[in-house]
């Protein structure tokens, strides 16, 4: 894809950042190096916003929309392919960032100090793995949702001949607001659905203590339904409404 150069550049920048911080070992404090490492990673949501819109915008800017829209395929083939590109980028970058964080924390000795801490031994490995996967999954899903909303906002703005940028921004804001409304309504409408529980760990006086945290299913189901609706609308827009 044409985004390969851009992705290689970002990946290269992350690697350079890791190497730079590794060169600061012995000069800066370990916790400072580890802390500073995560600061520029806030670019990831911005990259998702940019890339998800660019995946479509470029088609119109370079007139390849003529090819894309004349293909004899349902819109979902195109939208899912573009989401797949986005997911690949998200997973690739997050894994690179996490691996870099691991290396930086290990080389500075920060990771070792945590692992050697007496309380760490009391945390079950199974719990660490589960919560890490849960957190990582949540991060990826959150970024994909951000991308989906941005793509919808862009395609919707193409229905207007003027103020497309403004329409896109307002559509995006409206979608975020709607997600909030859906979550609120979901807790009422789907209140009958069984909730699920996460085990939260606290170490109190050297004793690990697990408590159950209740997570409501209703808002999650409502948001998921709204997202399915937005994705369906995205397909309708692409297949039946937008033009070259």
């Amino acid at each position: 894809m044409g985004h390969r150069g851009e992705s290689a550049l970002i990946a290269g920048a992350i690697v350079v950042w890791i190497i730079f911080l590794l060169s600061r070992i012995g000069i800066w404090r370990p916790d400072v190096i580890t802390g500073v490492y995560w600061l520029p990673m806030g670019f990831l949501p911005l990259w998702v916003l940019w890339t998800s819109v660019q995946l479509y915008r470029q088609e119109w800017r370079e007139n390849t929309s003529y090819l894309m829209l004349s293909l004899p395929v349902r819109a979902r083939v195109i939208t899912s392919a573009k989401l797949a590109v986005l997911v690949t980028g998200i997973v690739g970058f997050t894994l690179l960032i996490l691996a870099g964080g691991w290396i930086v924390a290990a080389r500075t000795g920060f990771l070792g100090s945590i692992v050697r801490h007496p309380e760490f031994a009391k945390v079950p490995t199974e719990w660490i793995i589960k919560m890490s996967l849960f957190g990582y999954g949540g991060l990826v899903v959150g970024l994909v949702v951000l991308g989906l909303i941005s793509q919808f906002a862009y395609l919707f703005s193409r229905l207007f001949t003027r103020f497309q940028g403004l329409v896109m921004v307002w559509t995006w804001i409206l979608m975020i607001w709607l997600l909030g409304v859906a979550a609120d309504l979901g807790s009422v409408i789907f209140g009958w659905l069984p909730d699920f529980y996460l085990r939260s760990l606290t170490i109190f006086f050297d004793t690990p203590e697990f408590s159950l945290v209740r997570v409501e299913s209703g808002p999650i189901v409502a948001v998921a339904l709204l997202l399915i609706g937005i994705y369906s609308l995205l397909n309708v827009l692409l297949e039946q409404v937008v033009e070259v």
Binding site: E62, N63, T64, S65, Y66, L67, L69, S70, Q240, E243
Partner: protein, 237 residues
């Protein structure tokens, strides 16, 4: 179910398409007869490209209906249409080979042997990146992509645009040699009538989105005692 490579009839039924205050196509009703090469003629802004985009499903009518074999433009009809736009619409970062593989993957009527033959005839190197091709070579590639299929409807929007005179005759020869009247309908828009008039079985003169004149090319020549070029000058002069 109809076979993909049967000849298709394209019908415009009181179609209007506007952009702001401008009516590019204005209450147009016309049937493109199957198995013919139709010359879509008119000056710039006559609505030729809009008409082709409506058939290709890239524009939607404001009112009226466009149908291909009775179906409104959809993924189903897109499988029957090979569309060559006037502008550059190919991914510049792909090589000629890659773009051909990409396009061929979507169309069951793609003919590999025909594509290879046309590629050779057009003098295109499969390893060259599309973005590095000259305008004339990109135009040739577009012809290869459109004519390597056995699509029932082939839409060629100004296929000679930006091509040097020697390449023009090569492109026209390719269109004629690859046209299959038993299974294809070709619609070719142009305002260069002199070079291409020999190709046309039928012509449609479009003026401000309306039919100014239409009919079988030979009949029109005979009845009016004028060439298509002369008729063009008469209608639009």
């Amino acid at each position: 179910m109809k076979a993909v490579n049967s000849v298709a009839t394209v019908v415009f039924d009181r179609v209007t398409k506007g952009f702001g205050r401008l009516r590019a196509i204005d209450e147009l009703s016309f049937t493109i007869r199957e198995g013919t090469i139709l010359g879509l003629l008119g000056p710039n802004g006559a609505g030729k490209s809009t008409m082709l985009k409506l058939v290709a499903g890239l524009y939607r009518p404001d009112s009226g209906r466009v149908t291909i074999d009775g179906d409104q433009p959809s993924p189903k009809t897109k499988a029957k249409v090979a569309y060559l736009p006037e502008i550059d619409y190919l991914y510049g970062w792909m090589t000629v080979r890659q773009i051909m593989e990409y396009v061929s993957a979507f169309y069951p009527d793609w003919d590999d042997a025909r594509a290879a033959e046309m590629l050779k005839f057009m003098g295109l190197d499969p390893a060259t990146k599309v973005g590095r091709l000259s305008k004339g070579m990109r135009a040739r590639l577009k012809i290869v992509l459109a004519m390597s299929r056995s699509a029932p409807v082939v839409l060629l929007d100004e296929p000679l645009s930006g091509i040097d005179p020697t390449s023009r005759s090569r492109v026209l020869r390719a269109i004629v040699s690859e046209f299959r009247s038993d299974s294809q309908t070709v619609v070719m828009s142009t305002h260069d009538v002199v070079e291409s008039e020999a190709l046309f079985d039928e012509v449609l003169f479009l003026k401000q989105g309306r039919v100014a004149l239409s009919g079988e090319a030979d009949k029109l020549r005979e009845e009016r005692g004028k060439s298509i070029q002369e008729l063009f000058e008469e209608v639009f002069g």
